[in-house]
Symmetry: C2
Subunit: 410 residues, 2 copies
């Protein structure tokens, strides 16, 4: 958008929820600074809410659209209409981008118009800009991190207090860290959408939400965290997008980290993302992953980049296959009958599947007997097959529980 | 720089040291990616070294200049000549920017030409871009962090091994983490130059190296680290640029951090920078602070932004006074004579200067007697006056030693 002297830039605002209201207030507060930085003074030209405003009128009266409605429809239609009308769009809508990214980016490219979305991933942590701009021509090997603050808060609290999942979830809801219906967060879908976006940017390849394998934290037991503490591990819900075997793997799963891992000290509702590449080693960025004002700040940063005349986003350029079966290390928790030969039978099953045990503890007696171990990295398909066979043993008092472990040294 | 189809962009390279050689290799390796991202293929048009090449010829044959000579002259002349010729410049030269920033930015603005310098601070950690672009209109309250990897390596090693400064410095030199003449790093001047640059960007105000108060780590004793460990503190050389009393304070000093501080776990030759603002809370970025390839990657990111047509850097816009006397908390180490009344005399001096003690230990007897304490935040001028008076007491066996303590809770 070229500078046009002192003519104000008219911003159409779609949505006036927490983030929308914070954005309108922040824009008014920083209007002088925006004008000083870009030569153009911003003003809100119109606001569309569920009850008020006409999208067509707002679009016609705006130079730039900020989409903060959330969800896929009508957000998708509105964003497409704006791009087709040649008007740049800033959005914080991760589901929209994760599910309809191909269509949106294609239309933006065709129209030669900017579509920016820093706030869609990790709020004010500038991970989108960093990957697109600072590392835009870097051969990124891996992007991973804690991209959901709700689950990180819950896991931190469970570890600190020993309380159960349901109890801590209720506390998170009271504190506003979890929504009334927390399923998108705790089930991993929210993190999966963010990882689809980051994978697309990092690897210049189309990735949709449907291609991200995700697991949540609903099944985590206080037991798992207690054993982890003994082994010196901390538990995080991690999103991982990485190059593997000529393709990429994009996944979300709870996993254990060894102490010294840069993500291990990230506690509470914070987010943190790491980018790895041979040419950069690793860069870690952390901060609040949500919050109305923080998210609004990220939106404002994008608006300013458009007004300043920054170049548009680079497009997707290659097609990389999704590699479904990757190697992982696992923690395995078995509640077993307290009788002779159990360990031998378990070890035999693992050995037959080519799985080797790294560390191992046997605990309790009678109805409390447990085998807890960490196994070395193996293909996940092998591990699943072994776990399925273990499930069939008469020796088990309940289904096996497993959690991935990140083995890398830092 | 507008796209001109398939015509290559000619890059003049000044300097072929570690970073220069790494940049040339990286540019060749990523030429396809640069062309895909920007529409223009980069090529090295000429290289100026101490022994070879003519600057005038290289400038005439280049579309863009990369300055990796270091030092202020002839780097300054060359950069000015390029900008005046309307050619964008990318530099990694922190001393140049910290000492001649005003002149360089003024000429770049006048010529309407880009001057980019991500690599000048914390190598590949994208702190310059983040402050300029993501937080370009954010009212930043504080930028601070570990911006010198050499000193962080030395302090980490001293804390981990109990070895003395000279011994660890020698090890750092063997490992290539410290130069043969380490004075710029260990004395704090390197960190001060980086903080001058960050302060300028964060507060949109001219700050020069001469306005940054800095101390180094040469005086740190193994003793200090041992006591700190007892108090649960870790020691870092911190650069701090912050708004204070209507002005700004920009300083570099060794200081103790409480556990839980986001910078406390940063060990070895790593850098980490935090940005604080009401609208963003805090964002922390960490990674390798040096290295030829990492620094070259940061330079390449800037080159790509220029080729892609990103907007130029925002200029300095306000004048904020430097506030010289600020409040700090201190650790104070006194080697005292082992006789009655010492503590009373020390406490009286502190009390008369309005200084209150937060925590206190008395150790050793005879010629080993020591008073070690942490005092609450007070104006540094008051603390200095108290220390000067303490120095005059007959009870002291050696001059008082003091180190700042960051008290903030995280």
């Amino acid at each position: 958008m070229a500078s046009e002297g002192s003519k104000p830039v008219r911003i159409g605002l779609l949505g006036r929820g927490t983030v929308g209201a914070a954005f309108a207030a922040l824009l008014a507060e920083r209007a002088d600074a925006v004008e000083a930085a870009t030569g153009r003074r911003p003003e809100i030209a119109g606001v569309l809410t569920r009850g008020e405003g006409s999208f067509e009128q707002i679009l016609a009266g705006s130079d730039l659209l900020v989409e903060l409605i959330g969800g896929t429809e009508p957000a998708r239609e509105h964003v497409l209409a704006a791009l087709r009308a040649g008007k740049p769009v800033v959005t914080a809508n991760k589901q929209l981008l994760a599910q309809h990214g191909d269509e949106l980016f294609a239309v933006a490219r065709e129209a030669g118009v900017q579509l920016r979305f820093e706030a869609a991933v990790a709020a004010v942590i500038p991970i989108v800009r960093t990957i697109q701009e600072s590392f835009g021509v870097t051969e990124i090997s891996k992007v991973f991190g804690i991209v959901n603050g709700t689950t990180n808060f819950i896991l931190s609290e469970m570890a600190a207090t020993g309380a159960g999942y349901e109890e801590v979830l209720a506390r998170a809801q009271e504190l506003g860290y979890a929504e009334a219906d927390p399923s998108d967060d705790v089930g991993g879908a929210d993190a999966a959408a963010k990882m689809a976006i980051l994978a697309r940017l990092a690897f210049h390849t189309p990735v949709t939400l449907a291609e991200v394998a995700f697991e949540g934290i609903e099944g985590i037991q206080p037991d798992d965290l207690a054993y982890a503490k003994e082994l010196g591990l901390s538990l995080k819900l991690l999103g991982v997008a990485e190059r593997r075997d000529g393709g990429i793997s994009v996944r979300v799963f709870p996993c254990f980290l060894y102490p010294g891992h840069p993500l291990a000290p990230i506690e509470g509702p914070f987010n943190a993302v790491m980018v790895e590449a041979p040419a950069i080693s690793e860069v870690t960025m952390s901060g609040p992953g949500a919050g109305g004002l923080q998210t609004a700040s990220a939106v404002l940063g994008d608006v300013v980049s458009i007004l300043a005349g920054d170049a548009p986003v680079h497009e997707t350029r290659v097609e990389l296959p999704i590699v479904a079966d990757v190697g992982s290390s696992f923690y395995l928790h078995l509640e077993v009958a307290d009788r002779p030969g159990v360990l031998a039978r378990v070890a035999t099953v693992l050995g037959e599947h080519g799985i080797s045990v790294k560390s191992f503890v046997q605990r309790g007696t009678g109805s409390e007997a447990r085998l807890v171990m960490v196994i070395h990295e193996c293909l996940e398909s092998k591990f699943s097959a072994a776990v399925e066979e273990l499930s069939g043993l008469d020796d088990l008092r309940s289904p096996p529980r497993s959690i991935r472990v990140i083995e890398e040294e830092y």
